[in-house]
């Protein structure tokens, strides 16, 4: 596609990158067909092609983001389904990231929107604050009906409704490391998942221990930065990224084999650290190395020799998170592992469409998010599963809020098949 950037504009590295992306788009429109918001609205402005075009206009003309453009960019889930579909290889992810940071710099949101975003950015990435907020949220549940009356109240209501009922799940015992291991990996502790379901990483450690893979503790790591990154707060995201790189670097120099990630949303971002820090001479190479070592747990296990499962007949609907299938292009590995572990795996119809979770999307865009959740749940229920498996905590919370079918992390099922405890929520259906 033709572009009209001046030499001065192209001196900026981010603009240069976006120009390259825009030049590769041929405006064929294939992406519209697999975009969740276009499916719902039938409106080009809510499609990737439409957004690309709105972004192009904004960047080419150095325009501050307008309310209208912000509306349509905000509605984008960053599910990246368009990137899987695009035959021209348009890197929509980097383009929309640029647009989001441009919006953050040039657009003043209404006060309640600013406040909510500030609160989310100040709480979610920090486990202790998030834990406290969940307690408050549970206390605040009875107030939910009143929230509809304040500006932006629909979002507060959505937020409260996502708070898990009945406290946080228990964590199973963890085996001591068996002797010294030749293979050593780190597991991203991260932020929100650690609070919502610490059992996910516990199960991961148990599985790895059985396979003789050593897990190195990393005390100083934390949130990957994805949460603020998707809100356009690029500088904050980079602070998180650098902190994690610093935490992992000594271990990497010491021969760390992989950085294991159990939340695919984080995986997509960590695999992009190399790009995010490309202009930082002190971190450029380290970031690229970290990205190269990042592995989703299923991606890592797929390369190992796992024991055959005991042949349970539990029917598992595998929900592929967008950050898994589109962001990281990991499609078959999780299903292969589940099958090998003995589960009957079902694909979900329309599996390429987002469930509406998308980081903080289900809080910031509750209307679209709940329509997508209902559509997803209906498709999942059509496969009549005993349990839903997925590899992203966000999807677990989102889908879980719309169905009675238990939803667990893929690794919890693998762990169970290898002799681990019954995953939380499956006690009733365990054979």
């Amino acid at each position: 596609m033709q572009t009209q950037f001046s030499a001065a504009q192209l001196a900026d590295s981010q603009t240069r990158e976006s120009e390259k992306i825009l030049r590769s788009c041929v405006h064929c429109g294939f992406c519209t067909a697999t975009c969740p918001t276009y499916l719902l609205e039938g409106d080009e402005r809510d499609s990737p092609r439409g957004r690309i075009y709105l972004i192009k206009d904004m960047l080419e003309n150095d325009k501050p983001a307008s309310k209208e453009v912000v509306t349509h960019i905000d509605r984008c889930l960053s599910c990246l389904s368009c990137m899987t579909t695009c035959p021209s290889g348009v890197n929509y992810m980097h383009l929309v990231d640029h647009a989001r940071s441009h919006i953050e710099k040039t657009y003043r949101r209404p006060w309640h929107d600013r406040l909510l975003r500030r609160v989310l950015a100040a709480i979610l990435p920090y486990p202790s604050r998030f834990r406290a907020a969940l307690t408050l949220g549970r206390l605040g549940r009875p107030l939910a009906p009143l929230l509809g009356r304040v500006p932006g109240g629909d979002r507060l209501k959505a937020m409260v409704s996502l708070v898990p009922v009945g406290g946080l799940p228990r964590v199973g015992a963890e085996p001591a490391q068996q002797g010294s291991c030749t293979r050593r990996v780190a597991i991203l502790g991260g932020c929100a998942q650690k609070v919502l379901d610490p059992e996910i990483n516990a199960a991961t450690r148990r599985v790895l221990a059985r396979l003789g893979v050593g897990v190195v503790p990393v005390p100083d790591e934390g949130c990957c930065g994805a949460l603020v990154h998707h809100m356009g707060q690029e500088d904050k995201a980079l602070v998180f990224a650098r902190r994690n790189i610093d935490a992992w670097w000594p271990l990497i120099e010491d021969g760390l084999e992989a950085i294991i990630i159990t939340a695919s949303g984080c995986g997509t971002t960590i695999k992009d650290y190399g790009f995010m820090l490309r202009e930082d001479p002190a971190y450029r190479e380290k970031a690229a190395r970290v990205s190269a070592l990042a592995r989703d747990i299923t991606e890592y296990l797929d390369g190992l020799d796992l024991p055959e499962g005991r042949g349970d007949t539990l029917v598992v609907a595998y929900h592929s998170a967008c950050s898994m299938q589109h962001g990281q292009q990991i499609r078959d590995e999780p299903k292969r592992l589940l099958q090998r572990a003995g589960y009957a795996v079902r694909d979900v119809p329309e599996g390429h469409i987002c469930c509406g979770s998308a980081g903080t999307y289900n809080i910031l865009q509750p209307g679209f998010a709940s329509r997508l959740r209902d559509r997803k749940v209906a498709n999942i229920e059509r496969t009549k599963p005993d349990v839903i498996a997925t590899g992203n905590i966000g999807c677990m919370t989102q889908i879980g809020s719309g169905t009675d079918i238990p939803i667990v992390h893929t690794i919890a099922l693998i762990d169970w098949a290898m002799g681990g405890p019954v995953p939380n929520g499956l006690e009733r259906i365990a054979p």
């Binding site: 033709q2 030049r23 080009e44 307008s66 695009c86 035959p87």
Partner: protein, 477 residues
């Protein structure tokens, strides 16, 4: 420099913009009416992005009745209308104008009825082509026309352009697969054309409407034939050392009276581009490749392929590769169907669409290469060889105006070549604005005048998609 002219916008209309928008706001809800410049930007072009015009307003109605109300409103205000489906036209069929209201059918995407016994499906026309097949697939049916953009393009656009696709060699183009339509005329009148059966009494206005490029009305509903899926289908890939050999092989298969489901051609640049995207196992050391698909029972498929392979061997085929699984077949077609978009990875392109008698393939391929080289440009060829529908992709740099002018000139020469050898200007993409000024090359004045009279019977004031199809000079109004 872009060479295609648009009519000068009518200032008496653009001056009344506020008033017209107010009238439109009276017939559709706010969320269906788009008037801010920032937002209309997304509708200023289609897949022929070299040409862009901002519309007066964009309306996305949600029902036939709303389309009718908007059309009546535009008619009363004397405003031009540009219909739009998914905006995937490569001929500029959906490009708006400053004095025209875009009416998009993309919100009309429901399946209204599926009649299994009569093997028909009735849909709203904003539904995508592939969604129609998906809706009937569980029952063992499919909708046959399959343009490469089928993932995104709408049935409305398919009807407007009489779209074909790889599989139309056996099953025909859109006009062979539409039984009836609901049309909103320019004054808002709603009429039904055709019916549920293969023929209806009276004039065949359905045949007239299909391929009329949004100049006779806006189709909002369509009843389509659906076809039982074959027991099996298998493509074979043939690699040749020259395009001429591949062309001769196609001509020989047609001459032998064999009708495969699809017979697709790609030359070396196209093979490289598509293989890089789809990883379909295309041979990379050949000058030309054919994808030939046959269907039926295993025995039928084996027998047909044996005959086809024998002909290919007589024409110097060097690589023969049969698909071994459904996954391989899907990858082979994904590569072919993504050819245009995947070309975007290497350069900007304009995609030509002309048709020639299949016997002329070897000559035209050779001449076409010479034409493009004469302009100092490169070409990648992908096309529906079985019915002689060429899609040369002329590669250029869209940020270089002179390069673009050369590409367009080369494109015009290729289309003229198609007409010279007894073919025509368009196969399935329609005329749009792209080929409008070449119509005089294809038709005599008497031919064109008669088409204009028919058009005028539906839209005497030239309100519907006015900049398209017919040369701006010599229009009978």
């Amino acid at each position: 420099m872009t060479h295609i002219q648009f009519p000068i916008p009518d200032m008496t209309i653009t001056d009344r913009r506020e008033e017209i928008i107010a009238a439109l706001a009276g017939v559709v809800p706010e969320e269906c009416l788009i008037v801010a410049t920032d937002q209309m930007r997304a509708f200023e072009t289609d897949a022929l992005t070299a040409y862009r015009r901002m519309p007066l307003a964009v309306v996305l109605p949600r029902s036939t009745e709303e389309v009718s109300a908007v059309m009546a409103c535009c008619h009363a205000a004397g405003v031009n209308v540009v219909p739009r489906g998914a905006g995937t036209s490569l001929a500029g069929g959906a490009i708006p104008q400053e004095d025209a209201v875009v009416i998009g059918v993309s919100k009309l995407n429901r399946v209204l009825d599926f009649d299994r016994k009569s093997r028909t499906i009735t849909v709203e026309t904003g539904i995508t082509n592939v969604a129609v097949s998906a809706a009937v697939a569980p029952e063992g049916f499919f909708y046959a026309p399959d343009p490469s953009s089928q993932l995104a393009c709408t049935i409305g656009g398919n009807i407007g352009m009489n779209s074909g696709g790889a599989h139309c060699l056996k099953y025909g183009v859109t006009s062979n697969n539409v039984l009836g339509v609901k049309v909103v005329l320019n004054d808002g009148t709603i009429i039904d054309l055709g019916g549920d059966a293969m023929d209806v009494p009276g004039l065949n206005l359905l045949g007239l409407l299909i391929g009329s490029e949004g100049q006779l009305g806006i189709v909002t509903e369509a009843t389509l034939r659906i076809i039982p899926t074959a027991e099996g289908a298998r493509p074979v890939l043939f690699g040749f050392d020259s395009s001429e050999e591949a062309g001769a092989c196609v001509a020989a298969i047609i001459a032998a009276g064999i009708v495969p489901v699809a017979m697709e051609f790609m030359d070396r640049p196209a093979i490289e581009i598509c293989e890089a995207f789809a990883k379909a196992g295309y041979p990379l050391d050949v000058e030309a490749m054919l994808i030939i698909e046959v269907e039926g029972s295993d025995a039928e498929v084996d027998a047909s392929l044996a005959r086809i392979i024998a002909i290919a061997e007589a024409h110097g085929v060097r690589v023969i590769k049969q698909s071994r699984s459904a996954l391989e077949t899907a990858q082979i077609w994904k590569g072919r169907k993504s050819a245009f978009g995947a070309t975007g990875r290497v350069a900007d392109y304009i995609c030509m669409d002309g048709t020639i008698p299949t016997g002329q393939l070897p000559f035209v391929l050779k001449r076409l290469g010479e034409i493009v080289a004469g302009y100092g440009l490169r070409v990648a060829n992908v096309f529906h060889a079985g019915d002689g529908n060429l899609h040369p992709l002329i590669l250029f740099d869209a940020n270089d105006p002179e390069d673009q002018a050369r590409a367009e000139a080369a494109g015009n020469d290729i289309l003229k070549l198609c007409v010279e050898v007894g073919g025509c200007l368009t196969g399935e993409h329609g005329v749009g604005i792209e080929k409008r000024d070449l119509m005089g090359f294809q038709f005599t004045k008497a031919d064109l005048d008669q088409q204009l009279r028919v058009r005028a019977a539906f839209d005497p004031d030239w309100r519907l998609n006015p900049a398209k199809v017919f040369p701006l000079e010599g229009r009978l109004i």
